[in-house]
Structure formats: C-alpha cells, structure tokens
Subunit: 139 residues, 3 copies
Amino acid sequence: MDVVTRSLSFHSPAGEVKDITRLVADALRDTGLSDGTVTVFVPGATGAVSTIEYEPGLVEEDLPRALERIAPRGEAYGHDAAWHDGNGYSHIRATVLGPSLTIPFTGKQLALGTWQQVVFLNLDNRSRGREVVLQFIGK
Amino acid sequence: MDVVTRSLSFHSPAGEVKDITRLVADALRDTGLSDGTVTVFVPGATGAVSTIEYEPGLVEEDLPRALERIAPRGEAYGHDAAWHDGNGYSHIRATVLGPSLTIPFTGKQLALGTWQQVVFLNLDNRSRGREVVLQFIGK
Amino acid sequence: MDVVTRSLSFHSPAGEVKDITRLVADALRDTGLSDGTVTVFVPGATGAVSTIEYEPGLVEEDLPRALERIAPRGEAYGHDAAWHDGNGYSHIRATVLGPSLTIPFTGKQLALGTWQQVVFLNLDNRSRGREVVLQFIGK
C-alpha cells in the first residue's frame, strides 16, 4: 500500500467545464499502482469536480442552465456587497457541487462508465491558473 | 492495510431510489476488514449515490420534487436535441448529486447514523441493469 | 500506511454553518501522519459537509438563499405529513449536499486553498449535539 500525490495545473477560462479524464488516467498509469482510489480535489473556493457525459448539449447548455437555477448570476449576493468581485454565484455553486470526488481503480483502470468523464468546473467569473490535486492510495 | 473491491449488480427501474445499506454492510463483513473507508461509486453518467432517511415521504415525494427544481423533466435540453433519448434531465441531476460517496468504518461497522441509509439513485428514464463499485481500503 | 479515526463532537444551533477547518487540521497533526486523505463524514440524515470561503455574506445570506431554492421551508413535505417534525427540507438539503468529503494532505498539511474552509452544516430545524467522523488513511 502506498500514497502517491500528483497535481494538475492549467490555465482555465471563466466558466470552463474541463474534461480531465485522460490527465487522471495518465497520472494513474504513472504511479504504477494497480488497485485503490484516487481523490480528485480542488484547492479553492470557486472550483468543483464531478462527472458528466462530455458532449456539447450537456456541457454548454444544460449544465449551465441548472447552475443558474441553483445560484443565478443576476441576483444580489451578500458576498458581492462586501467584496465587490462579482463572483458570489461562483462560490455558492462550488459549495453545492463540492470540491472532492473519489474514484476507485482496479487493474490500473479507473472504474468509470463508458460515457462518463471526470470534469473540473471553473465556476469563477474570470480566467486564471487552476490546480487539481490527485491523491492516489492503493497497491 | 489492504484494498478489496466488490461490485453490486441489480436491475433498476427508471427513477428508482434503492436502499443499498445492507448490501454495503454485508460486503464489508465479507472483506474481513475492521477499520477504513469504503468508496461507493457509480460507473455511469445517469446514476448517483447519497444518504437519506429511507421513508416514503422523502423517497417518493420530497426528493423527486427537489430534483425537478434542479433539472425539470419538461424543459428543452441540448442533450435531447442532439441524442433524442429524452434523458437530459437525468444527466444533469447525476452531475449535481455526484457519483461517489466515501463512508468510514470502524470495528467492522459503517459509521452511519441510526436513521441514515445509503442509496443508489437511478436517475435515468428507463429500466436497466446497474452496477455500483465498492472499494474498501483499510486494515 | 495506517488508519486513524477521530471524532468531533459539539453542540450545534439549528441552521448552523460551522467552520471546522482548525479542528480537522489539529486532528491531522495529532495523528502524526504526513501523506494521505481524511474523509470528513456526518453520521446523520440532516447534516452535510462541504467547503466555502467562510465570510458572513456567503455563510449567512447567499448559501441559505440557495438552499431555499433547492428545498424551500414553506413547502408541503411528505416527510412532515407522516412524521410531523417539520424538517423535511433539512433532509432534502442534506441528501443533495452529501454527508462526505475527502481531503488530501501532504507534508502534514491539508490541501486546501487559502480562502477555502471546511464546514459542517446543521441543516436541521433544532439545536442538538452533532458528531463528525474523521477517518485518516495515510503514512
């Protein structure tokens, strides 16, 4: 049994939903581990991780519309009144979706469905460098 | 320390919220592990896992109503316009709820509350065979 | 590699969003572990865990407003019709947010962002004693 830490770093446009499945699978292969779990974690209060079938209808239309229902952009936010950065909706969406996802792997393969991709969501209202931590635990 | 993989397979009606608490507890006993975590993971883009007090009011009325608020069935979905399978709402609900749940166990017992059950949600619009992966890590 | 279990116990007012970051960090230091993950888990069906920038605008105004959108207090709940405890909305919010969060740590430090705090949410409609289980796995 061992713990192996990897980190993904990339520039992310405002509102991006980024497919990181291959990056996670490549990092897994690089660890040499066969069976265990990987925790995919966003260090930051305006990002989140989840899974989705990565196709334009869901990613560009349907998911953004659902996030608008949970935390609309146009509404008044206490966060924005105090901090004036206009991203109160980003914080709330991130808290509801959550910053962590744990995925099993067996035989060096992630236990994902055929049409299921791992995504990082940059919920913030500006482009910036983002990091995702991958913590592998296994044998 | 060891990793033990188990898998639950079952037929699931469209929209089912299935109590899998006993199946997870049975699998834990079968591993012989005493202390660790189990990651309950849905390989598929239209299923999710969470916990709930499993009683008909919450399961059959209140939770479905909340899921309608997050992703209503009657709305137009970009996913459905492209793929014509009518389950755009299923995908969005699955992404918001999330495919993974990690539960501690100690002394061979899951650390669940008395009125807290582990549930698999088949958010899809059709019956089908479903799988849930259980990844136990512990000693 | 080892597993170490810790538990946080505290009294929590109805609706509290409690910053438990320091309690989790203190427990990590106490374990002596350097690299691994901690699963933060709520044993109970009306609590949840997530992360947020812990400032009053988000915690006291914006997050409660979003939770009202997901499960409004004023609505009729099947749970309340059967059990008469008036906390149907609490259960639904807990199921959507989820009871578990897994955070990596390296070099004895939690992999949190600078403005990202770990929070326990008492979503129930009454004050009560609450418990949060911390399951550390690492080396």
